[in-house]
Amino acid sequence: MSNDHLYDSAPWTPFYGVAKNAVTSADSVEETHFFSIPAMIVAASEKYKTQTAFTTCMPNGMNGHLTYAQVDEMSDAFAVYLRESLGLNAGDRVAVQMPNCLALPVAAFGILKAGCVLVNVNPLYTRREMAHQFNDSGATALVIVDMFADKLEDILANTSVKHVVLTSISQWFSPLIRGVLNLVLKYWNKAIPKHNLNAQKLDAAIEIGRKRKAEKRLDVAAYWQDIQREDTALLQYTGGTTGVSKGAELTHGNLLSNLEQVNSVAGGHIEAGTECILTALPIYHIFAFTVNLLAFYHKGAHNVLVPSPRPIQNCQRAFDNYPITWISGVNTLFNALLNEEWFTVYPPKTMKVALAGGTALHKSVAERWRTVVGTPIAEGYGLTESSPVICFNPIGHERADSIGIPAPSTEVRLVDDNGVTVGLGEPGEIIARGPQIMKGYWNRPEETAQTLKDGWLYTGDIGTMSEDGHFHIVDRKKDMILVSGFNVYPNEVEDAIARLTQVQESAVIGVPDDQTGEAVHAYVVLRESGLSAQDIIKHCKTELAAYKVPKKVVFREDLPKTPVGKVLRKDVRASVVKSETTAQQ
């Protein structure tokens, strides 16, 4: 029997009231409907002209900043450089590979203003991963930070990239500071390798664009005026569950819709033109890209960029020197902050709201945040494929262990393996439909067909819904372990193991087993010694049904993780399967 009505009646609707009641400023009626991201950027730049848009804050407090007008002017000039000097056309892909720094927004906005498609690249990628992503996206131009120039040099010849623009973390710092910082980075941190790349410097490129623009009296708006909301803005690469890195094609409409959705639920808490947001998450990741970079630019906020939030002391000067009102982060970031005396004894007084996403926010972390900082921490949920927000917790009415309610104009259902909706309280795969869902995977019709069915995005996450429409994540569908016909959710087992204080973290995976089909294996990282595999199994027996108890416990020094700190169970599984195959040979 279908339970469609359960979900399609949108039982969460009353909670939009909660979110909307928070809307106080007159600003909430402002026009948010733009046809393209450049239109939004130009409007915000015009409105907040003289205000500081971005500050890069180094661990020692060194900083550089750009105003809204500067970002607008420089990204215009960079757009001209891309179109006129490099001869790129609308729709051409341009990759950006750098940690958070002033060059990132200028390059990204310039690319979008040129009518090109932005490709965000993780700076920590290996040579092989870089080459794959450049070739898969067909990027012809690349803006890259000098710290990774040596990696690029090795692979450049084998990629589609023809033009390289080079920048640095210290870009647009004042000359003296820039010089000193470069010396420190080069000789103390040894972070800037030698290279022989034939590359244009970013400021030189912008200068060329600026001159061209003046000589030819070019109107940059002509590059992007005809962009429609259906046009692709961004190729955001994601491993997904299949492991092959593929580009989610996000349109201007997808990103702007998500921005509007964020705005309609959180906008009431954001005072236009006065907020200060700490961006410690990497902007090449979709969460910070949409929320920090786009949504808060639109709102005229001062964005404080931290190039590397690890170790967490790197954020201390940012908290010391700027009146941070918002922060976006993942569980590990909040966790790390809460372990610092300087943060817990003097939590930032200006802080208003913390936004959590990327991975499940632990209840203990959320509770401690509220006690220590005294302000809400709201968890949201989403995927790269959904620009990313699908669900959110109304600010001020957060529920523990819940990803909250669907964003406005988003339909969410829970379905079984046959795509039939499941009953109330039953676990099912979360599927979502709405204006923020991607067009598809770039050049991968088969993978797209598996993920997008009838407009519904199949998230691969198993969730449950409460009577009043709040959702709760149970686990990744792919990670589910089938033991003698019973479903075991690794999260549940990991949670049980985590209750042992000596345990730092664990990954629970299913391994093929002759008797039970699959067997539960736990890979555990201890934070202090004194715990045996038997102790863990014994503890699990008291907490879990017998079939969920790990059959084998293996201790590890560390576990593979994504850049935002999610434990990669698939990598653990791959390494285990690989080592067992070699053992058999």
Binding site: C57, M58, N60, G61, M62, N63, F173, S174, L176, I177, V180, V184, R310, P311, I312, Q313, R317, D320, N321, N335, A336, L338, N339, E340, E341, W342, V345, Y346, H362, S364, V365, E367, R368, T371, V372, A498, T501, Q504, E505, R527
Partner: protein, 298 residues
């Protein structure tokens, strides 16, 4: 020893270094260090109870001459100096705590140094006292640049960072300079000095580090604070001791006693340098461990 010109040059450098140290600090850091006042109490005890006793015990065990005993006990009674702050900074210990301890121990030294000297060196008639203008000088050297550094950093984070880098760099240069030039300048003195004196001055610093750490840990200070106290305990104000000796004694006695502060000052820089490397590594390791650790239950 140093010429007057070199001495004033060193003073100016010290001012610049403390300027840089100040630029690495905020008032919050001081409030944090005062949040556990027992750390200062523990440091105080280890500096004024442990160190004089260690010095006295070493002098007895190594059978030092009367003059050397006086020198060593005086060394043990000394408060900390700016050198300890610089090493606290390099070893990523709590600089704010180190500075607070230096201030407290220097002020207290006014009363405690003559008292301990009278107690441990009974029978030697000369009265030991710290000249008040030296205390004022030290506090001035320490406090004013630190405060200006802090203020500048608050005004402009970029200038603050530059000053901090400069101070750190200069600190390293001074330390390397002392280590490299001291031996060739004083090889004759080094060659004539007995092994007992070597042992005494080296062990005084090392025992200071060791017992300062153990004592703090026993009194339940966290490891980073314990390392700060350890540094502060082991590193005594050598130049101040030398000055007191020069002002209190004359002639050959002066030269004999002076040997100890001079030798101590050399070896404490050498020993602090390697201890700093170790402490810094530990702090870095702790930082990354904290990064990973679970939130403590509220």
């Amino acid at each position: 020893m140093l010429s007057p010109f070199e001495e004033s040059l060193l003073s100016i450098m010290m001012v610049i270094i403390m300027f840089g140290m100040g630029a690495s600090l905020t008032f919050k850091d001081f409030k944090l260090s005062m949040r556990h006042p027992q750390a200062i109490g523990v440091g105080f005890l280890s500096q004024y109870l442990l160190m004089p006793f260690i010095a006295f015990a070493l002098a007895r065990l190594l059978d030092l001459t009367i003059e050397q005993t006086v020198g060593l006990v005086l060394m043990g009674c000394m408060p900390g100096g700016t050198t300890s702050n610089i090493f606290a900074y390099f070893s990523k210990s709590l600089l704010s705590l180190s500075i607070m301890m230096t201030i407290c121990s220097t002020l207290a030294g006014f009363i405690l140094v003559p008292m301990w000297m009278a107690f441990y060196t009974q029978g030697i008639d000369d009265a030991f006292r710290i000249p008040p203008d030296q205390i004022a000088r030290l506090l001035f050297l320490l406090l004013i640049p630190t405060l200006i550094g802090m203020w500048l950093r608050r005004k402009n984070a970029n200038i603050g960072a530059i000053i901090e880098l400069m101070g750190g760099l200069l600190g390293a240069v001074v330390i390397v300079f002392i280590v490299v030039t001291w031996v060739p300048r004083n090889w004759r003195l080094l060659a004539e000095t007995s092994w007992q004196v070597y042992a005494a001055v080296i062990l005084l610093g090392l025992f200071g580090f060791l017992f300062g750490y153990i004592f703090s840990r026993l009194l339940r200070l966290n490891p980073q604070k314990a390392r700060t106290v350890s540094m502060e305990t082991g590193i005594q104000n050598g130049p101040l001791a030398a000055l007191i000796v020069i002002m209190t004694f004359t002639g050959e006695t002066q030269q004999l006693i002076l040997l100890i502060p001079v030798m101590y000052s050399l070896f404490i820089v050498l020993n602090s340098a390697w201890v700093t490397v170790i402490y810094r590594k530990i702090t870095n390791r702790e930082e990354s461990a904290r990064d990973q650790a679970k939130v403590e239950p509220s």
